[in-house]
């Protein structure tokens, strides 16, 4: 259902890899230290095509291993506090949770991009 919001020529770097956890559906990010994290601030950031390809390969392997679904790359910029912030409004919203419920989703549990 959710399709990569990355332009056809390939993404502008930096990027992160986002997916949904199979079991609970939560939005997860490929983490800096391997594995998956629900925390937007802990997402691994890829600055070039090689690093991005590595993230994608990780996503595909974990998709096949039935850990996550719908993995895709998301373009980000790095905020002053060092956090990767999605540049597209849809992806930025996924990093936080519903705007109509600030008490729910990631914004209620973690540090999220401003």
């Amino acid at each position: 259902m959710a399709e990569a919001k990355v332009n056809k020529k390939g993404p502008k770097f930096p990027v992160i890899l986002v997916a949904n956890d199979l079991l609970d559906g939560e939005v997860v990010f490929a983490a800096k230290d391997g594995g998956w994290t629900p925390e937007p601030g802990k997402a691994a950031v890829a600055d070039d095509a090689d690093a991005a390809a590595e993230l994608e390969a990780r996503g595909q392997a974990e998709f096949k291993a039935n850990r996550i679904v719908d993995p895709y790359l998301v373009e980000v910029r790095i905020a002053e506090n060092g956090m990767p912030v999605a540049t597209h409004f849809r992806e930025a919203l996924r990093q936080k949770g519903p705007t109509v419920h600030p008490d729910m989703g990631k914004q209620a549990e973690y540090d999220v991009p401003a």
Binding site: M1, E26, F89, R90, R94
Partner: protein, 561 residues
């Protein structure tokens, strides 16, 4: 209310068992994502922006208090303490976990509910008039027909994989509250002009979405007993000829449009002639069995108007206003139906907390013959309230934040979940509704403006029915920002019409101002008791375009200053 027989019960329980095993096999890896996705969709389970979403069927929008309490329990235990009523009279949970869904489905089955036919390319849950069985202008309770169609469609082997989803709506009243002209099939129960016999008018090929169309009458009078065979003929033509090559052209509306009304009708009639009607149509006994479930509740014999209510209204302006705005004339003397708005000022349209659901279940049990309805405009209805009880009901609703007197007014806004939840969205929808609601919060002003249904969708799929809003708002993405297109003149009733654009798309923060501008044009132009949509029809689009344009230029000016 319809009650499951043994067959229904077994069918639903089997489906839960089956899905439980499918989830287990998905989690242990024996089912791949590609294999599992269609299976979960067949059970109403979507994957949205933040989480899974489970859509629960509320057939023809009718519930009892036991069911609503169970829905509250699920909201509390497996969701975040609330649920959302949709424009198809269904209910959605926004945060269930995959591993919990089989348990949720079991809890639903305990109260004769399920999530079947709420997703996928099948005949979807049938919708109907929220005042079914209650309205004075009704020929017959449409839910009997809706339930008959449910039973026919649930297990129909031929129609499990249609080219695309298929939505049917039924009304039994003169005034169409079920939007039958914008459904794949719309059915109106009516009396034959000469013989007075009760039958059906069958409308095919309506729909919203990317290519909105008003349905065409393919049969102006169908004898009641022939319904299922005739529907089967329509579905057969569609199943065989509907386009499977292009998702955007796969709905029956495109087939009707491309084939031409006359030719489509001829093909349906030819197919119908080939069918062996008696083997398809429901036996009379079965129709009677179903009808018995929808027999009216035991009403008391009461005077037409309640003195107690009149007295209470005279001394309590808030109660008076509530009854005036949200009351609906009941066909039985001394009774009234009440619309209960889920559109408090600034609230999320259609959302209800578990505490509100429980309180509302108690109110329905005590004061409305244990019955409640869900409307396609995301509100609820207490269908059978004794007028004498209205002051108590009003107090109980008020205590639970459910007494907003705005049914049908400018703050009674339909909004799809939009980008706050929906994976397909191109823009937010709910915050737009909230901003408009706050702009027009003043009661007197709302009343002065009168009936004005605003409908908002967060993408071209039009779940928020924006094409048929008196003011319609469609959220799109333009150059990386959310952008909103405004239409006026849409109508979902028997006078169905599609709204027309008043100008170019605007930014989110301009929308309330644009609505103000359109309302000003209406207030200036309206004659007599014209509603907004009547004024658009009579005065035409131009004054609205001009008002909108003036607003947009003015807003641009301000931004530049």
């Amino acid at each position: 209310m319809y009650r499951y027989d043994e067959f229904d019960e077994r069918f639903v329980r089997d489906r839960v068992r089956q899905f439980r095993s499918q989830v287990e096999r998905r989690l242990d890896g024996s089912l791949s994502d590609d294999e599992f996705k269609p299976l979960r969709l067949k059970n109403g389970l979507y994957l949205q922006l933040h989480a899974y979403m489970l859509r629960v069927a509320v057939p023809y929008g009718t519930l009892d208090s036991r069911q609503l309490r169970q829905l509250a329990l699920i909201a509390e235990k497996y969701d975040k303490g609330y649920a959302h009523f949709t424009t198809r009279q269904n209910l959605q949970y926004n945060w269930p976990k995959l591993k919990d869904v089989p348990d949720i489905l079991d809890l639903l089955a305990d109260v004769e509910m399920h999530a079947i036919q709420t997703s996928g390319n099948c005949i979807r849950n049938v919708t109907s008039d929220q005042f079914a069985g209650v309205a004075k202008d009704e020929v017959e309770d449409p839910r009997v027909t809706a339930e008959l169609i449910r039973q026919w469609s649930s297990l129909h082997p031929e129609f499990v994989w249609l080219p695309r989803k298929f939505k049917i709506a039924v009304t039994g009243a003169e005034h169409d509250r079920a939007a039958i002209k914008v459904h794949d099939i719309g059915i109106r129960i009516l009396r034959h002009a000469e013989t007075n016999e009760v039958g059906y008018e069958i409308v095919v090929g309506g729909g919203l979405g990317r290519t909105p169309m008003i349905g065409k009458v393919v049969r102006s009078f169908l004898p009641k007993a022939e319904l299922l065979a005739y529907l089967e003929a329509i579905l057969r033509v569609y199943n065989a000829e509907g386009r499977r090559d292009n998702k955007f052209k796969a709905r029956v509306k495109i087939l009707v449009h491309e084939t031409g009304e006359e030719e489509f009708r001829a093909r349906v009639e030819a197919e119908y002639a080939k069918l062996n009607g008696p083997t398809v149509n429901a036996p009379e006994g079965e129709v009677e069995r179903i009808a018995a479930y929808f027999a009216p509740p035991a009403y008391e014999t009461l005077p037409e108007r309640s003195q107690a209510l009149e007295t209470a209204r005279a001394s309590d302006p808030a109660l008076d206003r509530f009854v005036e705005q949200n009351g609906f004339a009941h066909k039985v003397p001394g009774y009234i139906a009440l619309t209960v708005s889920l559109k408090g000022i600034g609230e999320v349209p259609g959302d209800m907390t578990d505490a509100q659901m429980r309180a509302f279940a108690d109110i329905a049990e005590r004061y409305s013959k244990d019955e409640l309805r869900v409307t396609h405009s995301q509100n609820l209805v207490l269908p059978h309230v004794k007028q004498d009880d209205v002051p108590e009901v009003f107090a109980a609703l008020k205590a639970n934040g459910l007494a907003t007197a705005n049914a049908g007014l400018i703050t009674d806004i339909i909004a799809c979940p939009g980008l706050d939840y929906c994976a397909l969205a191109t823009a937010k929808s709910i915050p737009i509704a909230q901003a408009i609601s706050k702009t027009f919060a003043d009661d007197d002003r709302q009343r002065e403006i009168g009936e004005l249904p605003i409908k908002i969708s967060g993408c071209i799929n039009a779940c928020g029915h924006h094409h048929v809003g008196a003011i319609g708002i469609l959220g799109l993405e333009k150059s990386g920002v959310e952008n909103y297109q405004i239409t006026v003149g849409g109508d979902a009733s028997e006078n169905a019409a599609l709204g027309e654009r008043v100008g170019p798309g605007i930014d989110a923060d301009q929308v309330p101002g644009a609505v103000e501008a359109l309302v000003s044009v209406y207030l200036r132009e309206r004659q007599g008791s014209e509603r907004f949509v009547d004024t658009v029809r009579r005065a035409g689009l131009d004054p609205f375009k001009a008002g909108f344009q003036a607003f947009v230029s003015g807003a641009g000016q301000e931004a530049a200053e």
